[in-house]
Structures are given as C-alpha cells and as structure tokens.
Symmetry: C2
Subunit: 327 residues, 2 copies
C-alpha cells in the first residue's frame, strides 16, 4: 500500500512535488488541488486536478497533503484549516512568524489527531537542523549562515517594482573572503555587507533613466542599501537566455573549541549547491511527508518542525536495513 499524496497549489513548488513523488516508489500522487479552474491546469505528469474547495471530499483518499502555497498569505490560513482534515506538510518560511504559525497549526492538529510538519525545506529546514546539531555538539562556538549563489525572488520582485524596470533577476552571493575567514576558525564578527554581495540583472523600459534606476536599487532600504550591489542592464533576450534558472544554495558553518582550555578547534560545515531551489525544497517536503505518515500511523498528532522528527522516519528503508547499511 503506497502513501497517497495530495498537492495543494500548483506553482513551481507543486510541480516539484509532482516530479519528486515519481522518485519515491513507496508513494503515489492522488491529485493536485488548485484555486484555478481544474480544466485549465495542465500537469507535468497527467495527474488529476481538483478544485481546492472540494478537497474535504477526498480526505479518505489522501494520507498526506503537501501545501505548496506562499508564506505571505496562503499558508497562514491554509495550513491550520487543512490540518483539521489531513496530515499536512508546509514550507512556511517567514522565520519571525514561525512560533505563531506553529501555535495556530498545533491547536488544530492536536484536536483533529493529525500530524502537521511546518517550515520544511532548506532554510528553514535542513539549515535549521544543521544549526541545531552543530550548536549542540560545539556549545563553545559560533555559527554562520551564508546564502547563495542564488536567485532571491523577494529582491528580484523589489527591483521590478521600480519605475522604468521591465524585468529583473537578483543574485545573492556569499563573499569568498568571509567564508574563508569563518572556515579558518577565527570566529570573525561580520557585518551584513561583509557576508554577501548582491548582483542585479535588469531589463529597463525603452528610454528609461538607467542611472536613476541604478540609484534607486542601490539605495533601497532593507533590500540593498546595506550591501555592495552591482547592477547590469541587459536585454530581455539576455535575461531569458542566461538567467532563467532558479539556482540557490548556501552554507551553515560552525567553529567551536573543545579541551580543558579550549585548545582544540573544530569546523562543521554543511553546504548546498542547488540547480533548482523549488525542486530541492519539494524533495525535502516529500521526504517529510513520509515521516508525517509514519508518525501519524504510530498515533502521534500535533504540529512539528524538522527538529522534532527523528531522522529514520524520512527514509523508505526499515530500521534494520538502515542499521545494517547506513549507520
């Protein structure tokens, strides 16, 4: 009997989940739920499409529902609402609001007897795990998170809102010398500017004032003002030819000391280099869907984060097999 997955929301993340399920023989896709007219949605694999308003009808046909909406407005509403009827997984990534989201989802999931795992992905997600493990092992130390090289959707959107900008893509790039300083074990104090640079590829409208656009980007508070930012004006053709991917990645590095007088140094480094940010996130979501299914089968309920999930639940292998082959 395979684990039956539902997908709620069919953007990049939903399509990623649809593909990832094919790589996991213990799972099958029940269908995709959308706010659009189902007849208008063409899926990558020919999966069935349903309107999200009817989702409750299918509660006995779905073991775990993976929510692929956005963190700004979709998930704060959808995750608690759907946890009433389903085991759910989401990738809620507004770090500051995780405690509030957790509390909302936990109340519903506990009452309904379902398992909800929130904030699944790589940051929050795998990076959170690595910050936790490294910090627990080396309490006398510092950790550093670097992002990139990769596309920041939020920063690209911010550039597109500037008058005279037709299209834009922004890359967040970790500064090599900062990475090297951290890896050397000196636990440097690094300013925002010292850790990352920002590189922008901008398509301007015809006749737009390029100097003014560049100035507007570089001085934008929160987004760019605190960074060394480079702006390149390119054509729409160049943008779509050279910058259509959604790569990302990053590093979590902790350096800590041990010994009676802190005489020995240790560096723990975790890094990701991802061709497709949404497809990788989708793959993490699918692995945690397996965990949610198993935890619920064991009688567990309530909201969890990746920190609450024992690693073995993620693997299709049995505990015996894991001990024999992987530990």
């Amino acid at each position: 009997m395979k684990i039956r997955i539902g997908i709620a929301g069919y953007g990049n993340l939903g399509r990623g989940v649809e593909c990832a399920i094919l790589q996991n023989p213990d799972m099958e896709l029940f269908g995709i739920f959308t706010r659009r007219n189902p007849a208008d949605v063409k899926t990558l694999t020919g999966a069935s499409v349903y309107h999200i308003d009817n989702i409750e009808t299918y509660k006995d046909s779905i073991d775990v529902l993976i929510l692929c909406g956005g963190s700004a407005t979709d998930l704060p509403v959808q995750t608690p609402a759907l946890a009433e009827h389903f085991n759910v997984i989401d990738s809620f990534d507004t770090h500051a609001k995780i405690p509030e989201h957790f509390a909302n989802v936990d109340a519903v999931a506990k009452a309904s007897g379902n398992v909800a795992i929130i904030s699944v992905g790589w940051d929050p997600g795998m990076f959170s795990l690595n910050r936790l493990y490294a910090g627990a092992i080396l309490p006398d130390g510092e950790d550093y998170t670097f992002w990139g090289k990769g596309v920041s959707q939020g920063h690209s959107d911010a550039i597109r809102r500037i008058s005279g900008v037709k299209n834009a893509k922004q890359y967040t790039i970790p500064v090599d010398s900062a990475l090297e300083a951290v890896r050397s074990g000196v636990n440097p104090s690094l300013s925002v500017r010292e850790k990352h640079t920002r590189e922008c590829f901008v398509v301007a409208e015809e006749g737009a004032d390029l100097a003014k656009i560049e100035q507007a980007i570089k001085t934008m508070p929160n987004y760019f003002a605190d960074y060394d930012t480079t702006v390149h004006f390119i054509s729409e053709e160049e943008l779509s030819r050279d910058h259509s991917g959604i790569p990302h990645g990053g590093f979590v590095i902790r350096c800590g000391k041990t010994g009676l007088h802190g005489e020995n140094k240790h560096i723990i480094e975790y890094s990701l280099k991802l061709d497709s940010n949404p497809e990788f996130t989708s793959s993490v979501l699918v692995a945690y869907a397996r965990a949610a299914y198993r935890m619920n089968k064991e009688g567990q309920s309530g909201c969890k984060t990746v920190l609450d999930v024992a690693p073995a639940y993620l693997s299709p292998k049995s505990a015996d097999e894991l001990r024999a082959t992987l530990v």
Copy 2:
C-alpha cells in the same frame, strides 16, 4: 537539577567527555569509573574516581553513563551489561557489527526500562545522519564518504607491529581530484585507490632495514596494498614534535537529480575538520547523553542509534526557544 553524568573508561575519550561536560551548564559530572586502581588515576578536573566493579552502587546518583571503552572488546560486553542499570551512550564503531550490538543492547534496555544510544560519534554518528538525510531527500543520486586528513589509529598500530619499527603515525588523506569530481556532480565510480592516499611517518629501530620496512608497509593487505602509500622515516623527536596531535575529519557528499527528466542537479556536502578526533567524538556523546536523559524521562526505553533521536532532544534550549531562534 542538572543531568548527572558518569564516565566509564578514562582514556582519550573519557578525558574528552570530562572536558565537554564543563561546556554544558545543564550537566554535571558525578564521577569516573575505571578498571585501574582509582587512587592511581589523576583526572583533568579533579573529578571523583571509582572502581568500575562498584558502579551499581551509584545507580541512583547517575542519570546517564557514557561508555568510553573500545569497540573491539570493551563495548560489546559493557554496553549490554550496564544498560541493565543505567541509561547509556556508547561510540561503538565496528560498522559491520552494529546490528548484532544493537540487538544485544536493545533486549537489556527494554527489559530494564533504560535508554541506550549506541554508535554515537561522527562516523558512525554525524556522517550516518548526513547519509540518511541526503539519501532521503535525493533518492536519485549517489553518496560518497571521504575520511581525513587525519590519523588512523588502526593503520598506525599496524605499522608499529612490523619488525624494526619503533613508532609510527599514519594519515589518511582524501584525494583532491576525487573530491572535485564528486562535487562536480558527475557521480564518478571511484576505486579505493582513487579516493584516499596514505602517508606514514615511521621511526625505525637503529640499524633496521628501511627498504624492507617500507616494502612491508606498502604491500600489507587490507591496510595499505590497495592504496598509494608514502613512507617517511623520521626521528622520535620529529614524530613527537610534528605528529603528536590526533586530527581527523572528512566529507559526506551526495549528488542527486530532480525534475521530470532529472534535468536539475543538487549537491549536498557535510564536512568536518577536527583538531582532536576524541574530543569531538566526546562532544557528540555528551549531546546525546542529554537526549537519552530526556527520552527516558518521557518513558522511552530500548536501544537507539542517532537515526532514532529527534534533533531537538540534543539541544539545551526549549522547543519554544528553538522555534523562535533557530528554525
């Protein structure tokens, strides 16, 4: 109320645990248990020393016992025996015998109601975790484990057994070009020889036949014959001046594909660079002692590996604090 730790065995690992406890304010060291005459054991921190034969007497004073013996003969006997009276942690690292050791310990720990966590450290341990997480996320991929640069105690011992050798230290070194090939994402097939080289620093007895020693090392089956091995003859002074540390480390790298046609590649890399192999292992043991204590308080019992322990148990922070600061 602090978590009261006992240490069984007082070699490099036991001393590392003694130091690591000082870095964890929620823990305190009850004492060290040894097979030697306790009066003859001088501890780094002035900790109390007891004879291991009397350890049962102290079962109500110790929350978790950390076993710091060797995997060859100590732990297969000690871990099951002591799990009858204590929550225990060990670093059993004979990979092939983990299933058998697990079964022996599990039977006792289940019957006694204690928690035992075995094979804790970095490999097995943190590397096992990383193989599991990466494999669950990227099922269509390959993983690679590299060790070093670091001292292999087993290989150093093997050299010391050769006639004419007074002392020796062996470093295992990952081959840079193999690491780069793996990181490039081509999932290369790598022979044993292509992944690691071995570098030996040997102190010969006066008048020994150096060519014969070098030949004996390089042709030693299992240990050296399958590797490119370099042998340096040095003096006892040079050995103690330049090679007295016990550094180690390594890499777990997985490259996998996602997308409908496997069109996107992803690289997950975890690496360790350790000044002191035993002190880092000790720090992992101590973090898992916290987990064992908490899991047992919740009513859990039986044998576990790192794969069975939810990450949050390792951290001294509360679940609320972790969600607010670290997820």
